[in-house]
């Protein structure tokens, strides 16, 4: 199955995949939590620190010029990666969580008042729930939740009913971090826009697995985390349409985000800098750009194809394991397989998989409301990236068979 996609040579770029865990070759299937880094990304970090590490913007010296250019070039790489209209629409943050908090605060300040509503869905990650709860508490607003069916699919009819005149923003995930379901974001946005409601898309689980075009989607806000797309920790992206960024007040105050500071009156820098208070993680942004270049060179289309095959193969093989119970019956999954082994606690499964060298995640996956809705306490999540292989799937299958026997 790996004919067109040379996964063996791709894996060579990821030194960690050669690790062993408890004597077994590591099988890393916790990619939805964080992804591994190609050598070139780490090399970029080293190179940046040792050849042009200097604080960016406003300095006259060479190192700072070079650092600034690398940092701003990274913005252009991100812009092109998601096809934003201009680099000014890319705000660098600390991660998806901070991106969403930024919007919850600044959009909230600009556009929301008592009695208004924010709409989210039942399948959101805590990072796309709690910031809105905090906003709603602060402003005495109401958080409304689009329900899902027993398989985890969004109930589109209910969604349309909830799109009332009080809704100020819809915040929804592109791909569920538990189920791997892709929401029909384009249609969802179309419907929201018909009612004049802007949409924030949480793309944390999407960008590593498929081409994303924020203009084709017509998303008003789109967020993702560098560490989930083969880039470094500590960096995130907020895409927002220029008009929103211009109308929204700043989030944090400090260096970089100002134009003039006086004790009587302070004026702010132009976008995107208005939203980037303090020294940015300019090494991290350059390394993120390198990660995006790396996967673009492989091709997001090819990655999506390969992962689809791999996940389908995994579903087929895992369904042969006695006691294997898939969460949610949906036609297509993006790189994520959530399951339980009948009668065995997910924690026990995860622990024993670990002892067999296989890293998965267990628990509620930062999506407690979704777990409640699906009436499960916890589940095992195997999540894939393009460097995973069918023989790793075979290892997982064999391990699950073994574990099932240990308990039965």
């Amino acid at each position: 199955m790996e004919s067109k996609f040379d996964v063996a040579s791709i894996r060579k770029h990821f030194p960690i995949l050669e690790q062993k865990a408890y004597g077994h070759p590591l099988v890393y299937l916790d990619n939805a939590a964080t992804t591994q880094k190609p050598r070139s990304v780490v090399k970029k970090i080293e190179e940046a620190y040792f050849s042009h590490n200097a604080n960016v913007h406003r300095a006259v010296h060479l190192l700072s010029q070079q650092a600034t250019e690398a940092h701003e070039a990274a913005r252009v790489v991100v812009q092109q990666f998601i096809n934003a209209a201009e680099p000014d629409e890319i705000v660098f943050t600390r991660g998806t969580t901070e991106s969403i908090n930024l919007v919850a605060f600044s959009f909230g300040e600009a556009f929301c008042r008592e009695g208004d509503e924010i709409l989210i869905s039942s399948m959101e990650h805590h990072s796309n729930i709690v910031p809105w709860q905090l906003l709603c508490e602060r402003k005495k607003m109401t958080l409304k939740v689009i329900p899902i069916d027993d398989n985890g699919c969004l109930l589109v009819d209910e969604y349309e009913k909830l799109l009332g005149p009080k809704v100020k923003l819809l915040a929804i995930t592109h791909v569920s971090n538990v189920l791997g379901i892709e929401n029909p974001i384009k249609q969802i946005i179309e419907k929201a826009h018909k009612q004049g409601v802007p949409v924030l898309v949480d793309g944390a689980q999407a960008v590593a697995h498929m081409p994303v075009d924020v203009r084709a989607l017509d998303a008003d806000f789109y967020t993702f985390s560098s560490h989930k797309v083969f880039g470094p920790t500590g960096v995130g992206v907020l895409y927002a349409k220029r008009s929103f960024l211009e109308q929204m007040p700043p989030y944090q105050g400090g260096g970089e985000m100002i134009d003039q500071v006086h004790f009587e009156k302070t004026t702010y820098n132009r976008i995107p800098f208005k939203f980037e208070a303090g020294t940015p993680d300019f090494i991290g942004t350059a390394a993120l750009a390198e990660a995006l270049r790396f996967i673009q060179e492989i091709g997001l289309d090819k990655i999506a194809d390969y992962e689809k095959q791999l996940v389908n193969y995994a579903l087929q093989e895992l369904s042969k394991v006695e006691g294997f119970q898939l969460l949610g019956n949906i036609p297509e999954r993006h790189a994520i397989i959530p399951f339980q082994l009948k009668g065995i606690h997910a924690y026990d499964v995860g622990l024993l998989l670990d002892k067999l060298g296989i890293a998965v995640r267990t628990g509620h996956h930062c999506a407690q409301p979704l777990m409640e809705r699906l009436a499960v306490d916890s589940c095992v999540r195997a999540s894939f990236a393009f460097y995973n292989t069918s023989s790793e799937v075979d290892r997982l299958q064999a391990a699950l068979k073994k574990i099932y026997k240990m308990f039965n």
Binding site: Y22, I344, H345, A346, Y347, D348, G350, L351, L352, K355, L356, T362, G363, D377, S378, K402, M406, F407
Partner: protein
Amino acid sequence: MSIDEVQDDIIQAFDEIEDWMDKYQLLIDMGNSLGPLDEQYKKPQYLIEGCQSRVWIHAEYKEGKVFFEAESDTVIVKGLVYLLLKVLSGRTPDEILKTDLYFIERIGLKEHLSPTRSNGFAAMLKQIRNYALAFKLS
């Protein structure tokens, strides 16, 4: 048997097993053999909430000794609980408080004591000591 004799017995039982999975098999079997906790104790006040699993523990003080009963929703943690109770249940508060639980490390399960582990086992151990201290001072 003294506490350390029980510990040494456990160490020996695990030492005889070479393969990791077989050790865990033993732990699972022990977990499965742990009787269910009386429903009256499966209440929030007896609960230790780990992030990944839950443990309920109840202690009774009789004739100078502390008797524990416990349960968990995961079998592996139940196995750990089984071992712990085997060593510590029915001991005096002083014995419990001054015991060095070396067996956990020696059988290779030290990782479960790490505060970054989230299975509630480390918290349970602390709770056992708290009970012992409370009974001692009572």
